[in-house]
């Protein structure tokens, strides 16, 4: 039976309180939304969040067994250059697989999931990873700025050791003009809020869910959890009530903790539900965006097998840093122009050597080094001559992936001279568990918390933007390992 084999999620470390936003912009547009939202760090985007969720989802699953990748986002850094290609390379998937970007609607997350199911069901693929992530930016003082949060979710779809079978679906699709971005638009435009709420969410979500119930002759009370998006608190509750659901059946909509995360939104809530699910539970998931997809799952006994190995939602929610400066938030999203200094201008002038990026893509995007077959020394970047001074073997190397290794740092600094939007630039020399060493920028930490000897893991982040040519450079950064994920 086809279903979910594993799940994973990434919620950015930074959260901004909606009070911080309204105390900066309340003079212009008062807001009533409570809580906080997740904010991608300056070096995170849809690609990096998809990879982080994918890493959480795959864990020790053999990467060579993956034969498909569906990447859902409305905010790929490129309109031409496949986002799934970057994600697949970073996650070290084989080249002879099928990959696709699912985009242009926030419903694309569940759509990707259903396409992956169909492919596995049809026997075209055995294991397909679905990654959904979004980093949508609202104008200062807009509703979108209040509502939209950033995150990524990942689900591995297959038919072996399934933790939740995908039992059925019902979809409705409409050309509904609630939000749109035309070619060249930096920000989305939208219809009146009340129109979106009453003609969009309040109609499409119940229509898809009712359609599903009718199609499979199910009652709403059959479900342990019902998941659907709606950022308006009163209408979110009203939809459940209209469907006849009890409040304890309805999955928390995460608006007060993360925000509406676009294509990832329903899948994030699904991952949260799976974290709490018991064998035998039925879960109903609906999405929103130019209509709605509804699908339902049946949790199996395998659920306990994966649970303890995930960062998932709960740990991610607990690990956070408040971004108390609204101006810093604007700078990270390039919404205010700050003086980055002459050094930054000079740095941006260095052209990206594209043939090198291609030739050495595995070293760069998948963090492949080499390991000496004679002495066993892992080394990064990959070498032809062994770096071990008592070995020195030539051309006796095998590929060795560092991206999933942990390490500890032997020296560090916080550099105020480096050109970065988030000074100081913290970087350190990392000795890997199992051997090998290299130096890395740090992500998601404060200088005061960095100590010689601390343990780190790695995460893909945006390293630079070649502004002259619009190229986004990605590489791995060290992230303090504070979670229980060891």
């Amino acid at each position: 039976m086809v279903g979910i084999i594993s799940y994973g999620a990434h919620i950015p470390w930074l959260r901004i309180s909606r009070k911080t936003i309204s105390s900066a912009m309340g003079w212009f547009s008062p807001s009533a939304l409570p809580g906080e939202k997740a904010v991608a760090n300056y070096d995170e985007d849809s690609i990096t969040m998809a990879v982080a969720a994918g890493v959480d989802c795959l864990n020790s699953f053999a990467r060579e067994k993956i034969d498909g990748l569906c990447f859902a986002t409305t905010t790929s850094p490129y309109t031409e250059r496949q986002g799934a290609g970057i994600v697949a390379t970073a996650l070290d998937f084989r080249p002879d697989i099928r990959i696709a970007d699912f985009t242009d609607s926030t419903k694309a997350g569940t759509t990707a999931l259903l396409f992956a199911c169909d492919a596995v069901k049809a026997g075209s693929a055995k294991n397909i990873l679905v990654c959904a992530s979004d980093r949508r930016v609202g104008k200062a003082g807009s509703n979108q700025e209040q509502i939209y949060g950033d995150s990524g979710a990942a689900l591995l779809i297959g038919n072996n050791q399934v933790i939740a079978t995908i039992e059925g679906f019902y979809s409705v699709s409409y050309d509904f003009m609630d939000r749109w971005r035309a070619e060249g638009d930096a920000f989305e435009d939208s219809a009146e809020d009340r129109f979106i709420r009453d003609e969009g969410y309040v109609k499409f979500v119940p229509e898809a869910i009712s359609g599903l119930l009718n199609k499979y002759k199910l009652g709403i009370k059959d479900f342990a959890k019902i998941i659907y998006p709606c950022p308006y608190a009163r209408e979110h509750a009203a939809i459940g009530k209209k469907l006849g659901a009890e409040p304890n059946q309805i999955q928390d909509n995460m608006i007060a903790s993360v925000g509406d995360t676009g294509t990832a939104y329903s899948l994030m809530m699904l991952v949260a539900a799976l974290e709490e699910a018991k064998p035998g539970d039925k879960i109903l998931v609906a999405s929103y965006g130019n209509g709605s997809d509804a699908l339902f799952l049946q949790v199996t006994d395998e659920i306990e097998r994966v649970r303890s190995r995930k960062v998932g939602i709960k740990s991610n929610l607990a690990l956070k840093q408040e971004l108390s400066s609204y101006e810093k938030y604007l700078s990270f999203r390039n919404l205010i122009t700050i003086e980055e200094g002459i050094r930054a201008v000079e740095f941006a002038r260095v052209a990206t050597p594209i043939p090198m990026a291609w030739r050495e893509r595995r070293d760069i995007l998948a963090l492949y080094g080499s390991r000496c077959k004679r002495c066993g020394t892992p080394q990064y970047p990959p070498q032809r001559v062994c770096v071990n001074p008592s070995c020195g073997a030539i051309d006796e190397m095998e590929p060795y992936r560092f991206s999933d290794k942990t390490g500890h740092l032997i020296a560090y600094t916080g550099d105020n001279l480096s050109s970065t939007i988030s000074p100081p630039q913290i970087y350190a020399m990392v000795d890997f568990d199992g051997g090998g060493r290299y130096w890395f920028d740090f992500a998601d930490c404060e200088l005061d918390s960095v100590k010689v000897g601390m343990t780190v893991k790695l995460g893909l982040r945006k390293k630079y933007i070649d502004k002259a040519r619009g190229i986004h450079g990605y590489f791995w950064k060290a992230i303090p390992l504070l979670r229980k994920e060891v």
Binding site: E346, V350, P381, D415, L417, S418, Q425, R437, Y438, W439
Partner: protein
């Protein structure tokens, strides 16, 4: 059987410009200024020079990549001229090339000249390392977004952790190194920075890269320095007080520090290696007793601290005791940076190695004015280019 360079080569003339932010001087002006002083000092004429080596590091804002800039600027008459580059050891590399050519018996008189015009970058610090990284252009993709202060600051965090120094203790120790060099700089009219700075001021200065503050970093300067070398047996024909080359060594990182896990980032492997070879070449058994004075590569205060240990002057982990005792002060047992060092004389990369020799040369001849060290015998110069995990180190020893 290979022979050493010891006592085969003599320096018979040297020149050095004032270092600093020389907005009104071009690289060509600096070449002419250093050259004029150098041949006047040697008492020779341009036509006596048979071959020349030009050292310059950062080509795009300096004299360019061709050696013709030296020939063209000085109108050298169709002699062989070669440009060399080896990061901060560039000038020493020019000096080494000239010395080896003369020692080989191919020429009798050769010129080594180093120049750097850094302030034409138009911004503070060294040029962006994405353009100039020791790791090559691939650094753009995989090296941290680092600067040189940061790469050296990492050595301080590692050293402090290894020897249990609190940030306060560590920073105070480093501050004493910079305060000493600032004092020496005030005594040198050619120095870039000529101002006394107290330990407290140094400790309170803005942080450039933790834990290094503004005064832990050397000046970024324009300047040039030059030397005329000849055969040792001919030297006294030119002057009564030539200075002899006792050792000239270079060691480069093998990649081991960056990619293997033996080294712990609290010292510089290449300095240890080049130092050992240089002492062996010069016949020095106990450096702490035999070296009279040094100009070591103090691009940052922590670099100088580790050099005390790596060059076997201070016992491992105990440089602080010597620093506290004033061992490296101008009136100490082995003065380091009598001319102010990179810290205060300044650091035009391609000129620094020869600037260091210039100070040792003047000290050995008793011409160092208010900075004069009493009866020096051996002077040591040391350059380190690149970053602690991947670098080029040169050590030179000169004497009478």
């Amino acid at each position: 059987m290979a022979e050493s360079i010891k006592d085969k080569i003599a320096i018979i003339g040297m020149g050095c410009t004032k270092f600093g932010e020389l907005w009104d001087k071009s690289a060509e002006d600096l070449i002419v200024d250093a050259f004029k002083e150098c041949i006047d000092d040697a008492g020779i004429e341009k036509k006596d020079i048979e071959a020349a080596w030009l050292g310059s590091c950062i080509e795009n804002i300096n004299v360019g990549r061709a050696a013709t800039s030296l020939a063209r600027t000085l109108k050298l008459p169709f002699i062989p001229v070669t440009r060399v580059e080896n990061f901060c050891a560039t000038a020493t590399e020019a000096w080494r090339a000239a010395s080896y050519a003369v020692a080989a018996g191919v020429y009798d008189i050769a010129l080594a000249l180093g120049v750097e015009k850094l302030k034409d970058t138009g911004y503070a610090g060294l040029p962006e390392s994405a353009n100039t990284s020791v790791e090559g252009i691939k650094a753009r993709f995989i090296s941290p977004n680092r600067t040189n202060p940061g790469a050296f600051a990492m050595m301080a965090t590692s050293y402090f952790a290894k020897y249990g120094l609190s940030p306060e203790e560590g920073k105070r120790t480093l501050a004493k190194i910079s305060a000493k060099s600032h004092h020496n700089g005030t005594l040198n009219p050619k120095a870039h920075l000529r101002r006394e700075v107290t330990v407290e001021q140094i400790m309170k200065a803005p942080i450039v890269a933790w834990p290094l503050g503004l005064y832990d970093c050397c000046g970024v300067s324009d300047g040039a320095a030059a030397a005329i070398v000849t055969r040792a047996d001919m030297a006294k024909n030119f002057r009564p007080d030539p200075v002899y080359v006792k050792a000239l060594q270079i060691a480069l990182s093998s990649g081991e520090e960056l990619m293997y896990t033996n080294w712990d980032y609290s010292y510089v492997e290449t300095t240890c290696r080049a130092g050992m070879k240089a002492y062996q070449e010069a016949g020095i058994k106990n450096p702490r007793d035999e070296i009279s004075m040094m100009e070591t590569h103090d691009c940052f205060s922590i670099t100088e601290l580790t050099e005390y240990e790596d060059l076997q002057i201070s016992p491992r982990g105990r440089a602080k005791e010597d620093i506290d005792a004033g061992f490296f002060n101008l009136d100490g047992k082995i003065p380091d940076q009598p001319d102010g060092g990179l810290k205060c004389f300044g650091h035009p990369i391609g000129a620094s190695g020869l600037r260091m020799v210039y100070e040792m040369y003047k000290q050995l001849q008793g011409k160092a004015g208010p900075r004069q060290i009493k009866n020096p015998k051996f002077g040591l110069t040391h350059n380190m280019g690149g970053v602690p995990p991947l670098n080029i180190v040169s050590v030179g020893i000169v004497g009478l």
